[in-house]
Subunit: 122 residues, 2 copies
DNA sequence: CAGTTATATGAACAGGTGTACAAACGAGAA
DNA sequence: TTCTCGTTTGTACACCTGTTCATATAACTG
């Protein structure tokens, strides 16, 4: 991300094709934006955020989480699958149970960052 | 976000209601998670990320953006509306044109942060 | 005034997402 | 083995989202 440069209006419909091309050439590939948006989407759901928050407090099994959130165990399992695929959580088998914990990654930092922003705004 | 504490299995179906309550009591209100997920959702779309990126380079009008992204002006306008409501972008009227620019806020930092993470992972 | 240009808005549609229900799986217990 | 418990998975459905098309608005031009 570079700094903002001044820009003197636009010719719009009769825009200079070379200018458009120059801007386009500065843009990363589509995959780049897709990957980043995918990463943000993981945290774009209240249920998943609750799970992430709870797991930041303590390791928990699926049924615990379901009870805490007053949700179906199935729904929680589906969301854990999403978080697992995104490598936000990891798990450890313990007999019949599966204990989930938060992978110490920057996603947790993202959460904390936005949460702090929100608090600052009031 | 507190640090992870060890947790010795769960009693699951016969879980101690007081334990569940104690975890619940440590959880913020629903609105908290809703607000944060809303904020992440704004960046959970490739098109909006492209716009944010482009506007970090230079101020642009709607038609410029549409040309650059090879998208309908209407589609771009709809997305700019979303970004405007989220206070990620601001605008300045210039005759018929409306020039959009990036509000210098932490959302741009989030973008940079995730983008950096992604690059580090390769 | 009418006509054009830049943008915004509303409706409709396809595709995606989160949840509940039901069934299946896997590991212990009897 | 059969049973139960914790979890996973498949399906269905309601809801949400992003785009397109068509129309509306707002500002400049002649």
């Amino acid at each position: 991300m570079k700094t903002i440069r001044s820009y003197k209006g636009c010719s719009c419909r009769a825009i200079d094709p070379e200018l458009v091309e120059s801007i386009k050439s500065e843009m990363p590939e589509d995959d780049f934006f897709q990957d980043i948006s995918d990463r943000f989407r993981v945290l774009a759901d209240p249920t998943r955020l609750k799970i992430v928050y709870a797991l930041s407090l303590r390791e928990m099994c699926v049924y615990d989480i379901a009870n805490m959130l007053e949700m179906t165990q199935s729904a929680v399992s589906h969301q854990l699958r999403t978080l697992k695929q995104a490598k936000v959580v990891s798990f450890r088998k313990n007999g019949k149970m599966v204990c989930y914990s938060l992978v110490k990654c920057d996603i947790a930092k993202l959460f904390a960052m936005v949460s702090k922003q929100l608090a600052a705004e009031g």
